[in-house]
């Protein structure tokens, strides 16, 4: 399929995408500086925390030396950064094991939850977005607008508690705690994940549908749409065959950007359902002031966020000929 047109597109788009990747990497580096700096503001340090108030000064000093806490801050930062990059982000004081091991046990769970939620929310949001763009300024559109506008302002724990009340307390269909036994069948896994997925999807769908609607309406305002309509093509056909292919870039952009809501939503949803994911792990790290673990979790979330933004921008670059030729 790699015809000359495709090759030409890649030749102009690749440098732009490369530039975007470089600027994303720089941002990630700055983010790591900010996270490290904030963590340094904590009074006392890990050695003190580990040994408690009663520890002798000598013992604290010895432990400090062991962890390299007696080194100047820039050196510790570089060590931490290199550690993060090589897969060794330090030692979790509360779990009493390597941060990498703690995270390795949780990360797949979170990725599974995020992937399934995306799978549910994307088609629904796409449908709502397209419907309300096609019926712009009708009663349907206004109704959907008020609905999605209200949904984006709902607190996550309201969505989750209402889901529990309906599906596990009243109907008794689904378990209210998302524990997955190691040898569970796929069906059982899906059943126990159903409510976290539902709650996360409700949170993401509203935002995604609004952004999709905006992306499509921007296309509907183009002259070629008016031309097609004037030629007598049915509106539904115009949207499906003319507008959608052109709006694919902006829509993918909107979808991917809205998926970043999963990161924030997961924090409440994983906690409320006791789901053993990365977000609930991070909340535990905050409660116990386990800074190495907290810093590592924060960096993973920031990386995920920047990756989503990168994918969104890449979609926009590939879809926009004007951006490509600039």
């Amino acid at each position: 399929m790699a015809g000359p047109a495709t090759r030409g597109l890649l030749a102009t788009a690749l440098p732009l995408i490369g530039k975007r990747i470089a600027s994303g990497a720089l941002t990630l580096l700055l983010v790591s500086l900010v996270v490290f700096f904030i963590a340094q503001l904590l009074p006392g340090d890990a050695a003190q925390e580990m040994l408690g108030q009663a520890a002798t000064a000598d013992a604290v000093a010895a432990l400090r030396e062991k962890f390299g806490l007696d080194r100047p801050a820039p050196e510790r930062y570089v060590r931490w950064l290199v550690g993060m990059l090589t897969g060794d982000p330090g030692y979790s004081l509360v779990a009493n094991m390597a941060v990498a091991d703690v995270i390795a046990a949780r990360l797949p769970n979170s990725l599974l939850l995020a992937a399934l939620s995306a799978l549910v929310s994307v088609p629904v949001a796409l449908t709502i977005g397209i419907l309300s763009a096609m019926h712009r300024d009708t009663r349907l559109d206004r109704g959907l607008n008020v609905a999605t506008l209200s949904m984006v302002a709902l607190p996550e724990f309201l969505v989750a508690t209402v889901a529990v009340l309906i599906f596990s307390v009243q109907l008794r269909w689904l378990p209210s705690i998302a524990l997955i036994p190691a040898d569970a069948s796929p069906w059982l896994v899906l059943r126990s994940l159903a409510m976290p997925i539902l709650s996360l999807s409700v949170i993401v769908i509203a935002q995604m549908a609004r952004m999709t609607r905006a992306a499509i309406i921007q296309q509907l305002n183009q002259p070629y749409v008016e031309m097609a309509l004037l030629k007598g093509i049915k509106p539904a056909r115009v949207v499906l065959t003319h507008v959608l292919p052109n709006a694919i870039g902006p829509i993918v952009n909107a979808m991917v950007l809205s998926l970043s809501y999963l990161l924030g939503g997961a924090i409440i949803v994983e906690t409320i359902f006791n789901y053993p994911g990365l977000a609930s792990l991070m909340v535990n790290a905050v409660t116990s002031r386990d800074m190495p673990l907290l810093q590592a979790c924060a960096m993973i979330f920031c990386t995920a966020y920047l990756l989503l933004a990168l994918v969104a921008d890449t979609a926009a670059i590939l879809a926009n000929p004007r951006l490509r030729n600039r």
Partner: protein, 279 residues
């Protein structure tokens, strides 16, 4: 004045008027709520824990047998007041920094913008969790955490407005007249960005209410004996299996507040439909 308000309200859509009423109601409750409470919010007054709706306790009782309506009325003060203060700090800081970048040399603009872009690249909940882990969660520090988390968004919007305004003819004229940077920022640019920034202030307020109640729900926000609406949800979470009003009512209360502000902002005159969201 009276007529101006009347015509302003008339210009709102139906959903906008619903939003306006909800906002007014919550502002009223934040100020007068504690005086309207039928019981002492800390007193054990009900015979039963997690009771349903009764005449004596219209919103039921909580996990210790306290009156939910009274606790909700006193909690409104924390949720609304703290978020208002934090949104005010965030919006003012963002606007002030944006004005500085608009009238400063290029390197100042680039420095500030780079820094704010970095903060924006950290998802807001993650940033606030890291901050809370370090500084703790007393009321003034929660205010600080929420402002730090949400001023970058205000800055970004204010900066794009200010940069555009700085190119306007009347600003150029003021420059040629030899006006100083302070005059240009405060007298020429600021008055023309007040309206969009007020709408943005409303959005910041919604974000912050959701953030702070979320933190309280996780046990990392307002600490006992104080309780905001998020804390009320948290402390009654064991009543979920009994479908107790004690857990649902505070959560619904927060929703009416945030949805109300969102509906109001969406129908403000002179604003096209926009994408409101949580950022």
């Amino acid at each position: 004045m009276k007529n101006a308000i009347r015509s302003w309200v008339k210009a709102l859509s139906g959903s906008g008027r619903v939003g306006l009423s909800l906002v007014m109601l919550w502002l009223f409750l934040a100020v007068f709520g504690p005086f309207l409470a039928p019981y002492d919010p800390g007193a054990f007054v009900a015979h039963d824990v997690f009771a349903g709706f009764t005449a004596a306790h219209p919103l039921g009782s909580d996990y210790l047998g306290r009156d939910v309506l009274s606790r909700l009325l006193s909690g409104a003060r924390y949720s609304v007041g703290l978020a208002l203060a934090a949104a005010l700090v965030a919006s003012t800081t963002g606007t002030a920094l944006a004005l500085v970048t608009a009238v400063s040399p290029r390197w100042v603009d680039e420095g500030i913008s780079r820094f704010v872009d970095t903060l924006i690249s950290i998802p807001s909940k993650i940033l606030s969790l890291v901050l809370v882990a370090v500084v703790g969660s007393s009321l003034p520090l929660l205010l600080l955490v929420a402002s730090i988390t949400y001023f970058p968004g205000a800055f970004r919007i204010a900066r794009s407005l200010a940069v555009n305004l700085a190119q306007m003819d009347y600003v150029q004229v003021a420059r040629c007249r030899g006006e100083g940077a302070v005059h240009i920022a405060l007298r020429e640019i600021l008055p023309n960005m007040i309206h969009p920034m007020l709408a943005d202030f409303g959005l910041r307020f919604v974000f912050i209410v959701l953030l702070l109640s979320g933190l309280s729900f996780l046990g990392l926000g307002v600490q006992p004996p104080d309780a905001d609406l998020g804390s009320l949800v948290r402390e009654n979470i064991s009543g979920l299996g009994e479908a107790a009003p004690a857990i649902l009512m505070p959560a619904i209360a927060i929703a009416t507040l945030t949805v109300g502000v969102n509906l109001l902002i969406d129908s403000l005159p002179g604003r096209g439909r926009r994408i409101a969201g949580k950022e």
